[in-house]
Symmetry: C2
Subunit: 247 residues, 2 copies
C-alpha cells in the first residue's frame, strides 16, 4: 500500500540534502497536514491551466512534467522522484503552465498550499528551504537547456542517465551502480529532444561501449566515470550538501 514512513519525513530528508534544518523546523514540518493518494502510469496529477489547492510530495514512484507545442510535439521538462515536491509553485502562481503525469505507479502525499505557506511565513528558515528547493529545480532546468541547445545525442543521453542516477543516489533509491529506469525510450526522447529511434540507437551505442547494461526496469552502470565524461556531466548543479558518490 502506502509507504510506511511519515510523509513529512521524506520531505525533510529531501530538504536536508541541500539545507540544514533545525530540530525545531523538522518538528514543525512534521505537523503538516496531508492526504494520501496514488496514481497509475500516465495519469495526470496536474493539467496545464489548473488552479490547484495542493502540492504533491512523491513518496514512491516517478512522475514527469511536460509541455506540448501547438504542432503536437511533447517536451518533458522535469522528472520527479521520492522526496520531490510537485507544483510547489502552485501556491504562488495562479495557474500551472505545464502538466504533470505519473511515470510509474506512484504514491503521493497532497499537502494544502495554505498549510505549507503558513509554515513558510511563520518559520523563515522553512521558507528558505522550500525556496531553495525550487531554485535547485531551476538549476536543473538550466542544465537541461544546455543539453537541449548545445549537446549532441550521445552527450544528451549520457547526461540524462547521469542526472537520474545522481538524483536517485540523493533520494537513496539506489546503492551506487544499479538504478531504477522508469522510462520508455519515447519518454527519454521527449526529455532530451530527440526521436525515439535515435534514442534507441544512441542507447545501443553507449551499451556497446560498456558504459552500462540492462534494459527495461533497471540499468546497471558499469563505467560511471566514462559515462560522466561522455555526457559532460558535473553534478554540482544538483547542489546537494552530501555528495555520496564521487562528483
Amino acid at each position: 500500500m502506502f509507504a510506511q514512513t511519515h510523509p513529512p519525513e521524506i520531505m525533510i530528508a529531501k530538504l536536508a540534502q541541500h539545507t540544514a534544518l533545525s530540530i525545531d523546523d523538522c518538528a514543525t514540518l512534521n505537523t503538516l497536514p496531508y492526504r494520501l493518494g496514488s496514481v497509475e502510469p500516465g495519469a495526470y496529477m496536474i493539467r496545464a491551466g489548473d488552479k490547484t489547492q495542493n502540492c504533491g510530495l512523491i513518496l514512491k514512484g516517478f512522475a514527469f512534467g511536460s509541455s506540448t507545442t501547438s504542432d503536437g510535439h511533447r517536451q518533458i521538462v522535469s522528472v520527479y522522484m521520492r522526496g520531490d515536491l510537485i507544483n510547489l509553485a502552485g501556491g504562488i502562481m495562479p495557474v500551472t503552465d505545464h502538466g504533470v503525469q505519473a511515470l510509474t505507479h506512484a504514491d503521493v502525499a497532497y499537502i494544502p498550499h495554505d498549510a505549507l505557506f503558513d509554515l513558510a511565513s511563520q518559520h523563515p528558515s522553512i521558507g528558505r528551504a522550500l525556496w531553495r528547493d525550487t531554485l535547485v529545480d531551476a538549476s536543473i532546468a538550466r542544465q537541461w537547456m544546455v543539453s537541449l541547445g548545445r549537446r549532441n545525442a550521445r552527450q544528451r543521453v549520457s547526461h540524462f542517465i547521469c542526472e537520474i542516477g545522481r538524483r536517485q543516489n540523493g533520494a537513496e533509491l539506489t546503492d551506487g551502480d544499479v538504478l531504477v529506469w522508469p522510462f520508455t525510450q519515447e519518454q527519454v526522447a521527449d526529455a532530451v529532444g530527440l526521436t525515439p529511434v535515435h534514442v534507441n540507437r544512441t542507447l545501443h551505442g553507449l551499451r556497446d561501449e560498456r558504459f552500462f547494461s540492462g534494459h527495461r526496469h533497471n540499468l546497471t552502470i558499469m563505467d560511471a566515470e566514462g559515462l560522466r565524461d561522455a555526457g559532460d556531466f558535473r553534478s554540482g548543479y544538483i547542489h546537494s550538501v552530501n555528495q555520496p558518490l564521487a562528483a
Copy 2:
C-alpha cells in the same frame, strides 16, 4: 549617468507585474540599501562558481546568463532587462552555477542579499513576491526548454523575438511595435541553440515574410500575430497581471 528613478521603484514596478503589493510593502522595499554600478558590454557581473554578497537589479540595459559545455559551446540560459533581478538565488544557494554578462552598457543596483532576505523574512508578502519572481523565471526557462527541444529554427527565432518583445512591453521599454534589439546574431544563436549562420538565414526568411523589419539596434514588428503564430508563442507563461498587448 544613472537612472533617475529610485532603484527600488523599478523593482517594485517589476514585482507589481505579477503580484499585488501593499502600500506598506512598497514603502518597506523603498528602504532597501543598494550600491549603484555600471558595466560595459561583455563584462561579467557574476562568474560561475562565485560566492556572492549581492544580487543585481537592472536599471538600464540588458544582460544574459550563460553556461558553457566542456567542449566550448555556449548556451545562453536567460536574458535580463530593466526590473529584472540577477542572482537572487545567490542569497540562498552557496555558489552560482552560471555566469552573467552585460549585453549592452547597463546600470545596475547591487542589493545585499542579507538586506533582501531580512525583508523577506519579516514581510512574508515580500518574500512571496520575490519567490514568485524566481518562479516566473523558471516558467520562462521551461518555455526555452520546449523551444530548444521541440521547435525548428523558424519557430525558435520567432518565439525568441516574441518573448523579448513581450517582456519589453512589460518593462515599459517599448511602445508596441518597435523593440530594442541588443543581440548580435551569434548571441541569438547561443540563446536558441543554433549556429550564427543559420540564425542569419532564418532572420532573413522571417524578414522576407514581412514579420518585422530593421536590423541592428531595434526591430520593428510588422505582423505581431503572424510572428506569434510562426513561433507558437503564447504569452501566458510570462505571468503578468497586466497584459498590455493582445495575448
